[in-house]
Symmetry: C2
Subunit: 407 residues, 2 copies
Amino acid sequence: MVNVAILGYGVVGSGVAEVLTENNGQIDRKAEEDIRLKYILDVREFPQSPFADKFVHDFAIIENDPEVDVVVETIGGARVAKEFTERALKAGKSVVTSNKELVAEHGYDLLRLAEEHGVSYLFEASVGGGIPIIRPLNQCLAANEIEEIVGILNGTTNYILTRMIRAGLSFEAALKEAQQNGYAEQNPTADIEGHDACRKICILSALAFGRHVYPAQVSTEGISHITLADVAYADACGRKIKLLGRAIRLEGGKICVYVAPHLVDGEDPLSGVEDVFNAITVRGNAVGDVMFYGRGAGKRPTASAVVADVVDAAKHRKTKKYLHWDQGDPELVVSPEGLESAWYVRMNASIEGVRAALGEISALARPGAPAGEVAFLTGPMTAGALAEKLAGLGTPASQIRVLDKNH
Amino acid sequence: MVNVAILGYGVVGSGVAEVLTENNGQIDRKAEEDIRLKYILDVREFPQSPFADKFVHDFAIIENDPEVDVVVETIGGARVAKEFTERALKAGKSVVTSNKELVAEHGYDLLRLAEEHGVSYLFEASVGGGIPIIRPLNQCLAANEIEEIVGILNGTTNYILTRMIRAGLSFEAALKEAQQNGYAEQNPTADIEGHDACRKICILSALAFGRHVYPAQVSTEGISHITLADVAYADACGRKIKLLGRAIRLEGGKICVYVAPHLVDGEDPLSGVEDVFNAITVRGNAVGDVMFYGRGAGKRPTASAVVADVVDAAKHRKTKKYLHWDQGDPELVVSPEGLESAWYVRMNASIEGVRAALGEISALARPGAPAGEVAFLTGPMTAGALAEKLAGLGTPASQIRVLDKNH
């Protein structure tokens, strides 16, 4: 018998309770143990809930109950969640979480704490919702040196971009629609400015490259400046605008990690990932490119990943745990400044002036473009080289990197 | 120190030796053990190989060497491979394989034998080449009741279909090209008639539904009868023809497992899977649809999956193994006879006659269609109902199921 306590009865926490109960038979078979939900911690009361008899309001009850083997942390944030995670690990309980903020900020310390106390700290649900990615990256691709990870890691922004592309909505209108559909929060900053995607690429980078990568080390750009003009020009060259988190192993052992919108070629499987779906492509030196695709958020998909970790924690109660990465290093992560790529640029200038400054470019057209607007794709160069060459012509209204997986 | 022996120095076996050596540091870190290639068994001599000193010609040397912990079986087929696998398991060695034929025919017996001797029998590489699918299905989706698996499981046929669609080659010409490029064998029957895809859907079904599914239980249709006319009509309705392996959980606990070409909607991510790539979509009752995509074959991708299993076997030497399914059941698997879906039909008839027989259909057109040829999509019905309704009009020249994931 394995006893589980859930911390926080919000969307994910209630989904975990639901899936644990509904798929009980299947879960017990896979775990080769009976898995039982013993407690749910929340400050609120839920008298109508089918789990009403399981609610407690004091974490110490869970912490001090030697029967509790696995604690599911779905509180979110990096304060209370951190305290309870640390106390649970110190009390010899494995902790499973969907909390990407906590893992991205404190993963190294929490993994070390777990190791010290002989328990697991697992977070499959922190990246890609229900998509299996943490375990495949760590286990199934164990034979590979990882060369690059690039992914659509945030469903909210992908929904907004999809609606801009498909329905011709402005960024503001698409954001409003996303909020109305429950795909975006009332304060959407963490999503639209790329912070959520940043946390996720930090976690994937740490797993792939073996050292903690902190969000503060990662250059992060969101999508709030993307306009319908940009969407139309991207379409004109057979590409789609996608917000990508990206980590590239460079010669010499450094890694380039960043979050930014990109123009993605229509032939790239990432370009077909729409709405709230996420997809993550991993390139290993043996396997080549593999892609993982599915719902990146939502109650039941996220709960699916959390419960898979509960099963794993239950099965590994008496053996060694496997997730591990080393301490961060301020020298490890470099910005994409040095990364050459083609660029999409939109600006007020003459195409002749642009050609004189940049040499060969490919000019783009869209219906209804105002006089004086030009848009084009450049050859491969760094952002710095582009800025230097365009300096005499004015500042681009928009400038977006074109994804080239061979950078 | 974990000692590995490779059986068979063909494409996959030599790839395993290469990846084990090249990515040695990464692999030892993941395994938390030194993994060393000790023997390669082959009837041939390879004096020029960098591994020349490791070759042996007598399996008994491996079998009787107590230092050998993991045996990699890349012989293929179900005869010698079966004998050596059994002997290795009985000698207390874990076995890792890419051999889908052996797993599909004898997986239950070999898993039981492994369990009896306290060792692992692992076969991540048997489905989808380097794509992580066996472990994600078994572990990451452990919280789900699996409802459906549908996938492009054979790279050769997907390459042929892609070349028919993109380059307008006939089936015969595309097959010849695939053979010239090394994507198809000189005797291509196992690929083009669907037998290879059949073995893979058997393995996935057994894992997802918990009982051995034998290839002989699975209705299997290949692609050798697909013509450019069919490709053109599919294109006319925004679909692509793909050979799919499919397993559906039915009400009452039976499963419908089959292999057949399907018309796949252009919006479905499976439709964008081209050339030798494979992709497998799994639908769970918690996670919804997740898709796994990558190279389904080839030396290094397959070796990547084999070596991941070697790492896993090395890490689990002293603990319980997790792959398991029960004995097969002749009553478990049903044919797709009872499965309603829309159908694509091409035949010589009048469209009025077809409408009179079938009611509402959607007629399709292609340039250069000969007089008397009609093609159309039907409403949802079983194959039997369709045959009955068309009986008075003649036999279809082509009839292909339309993929509807909600069948």
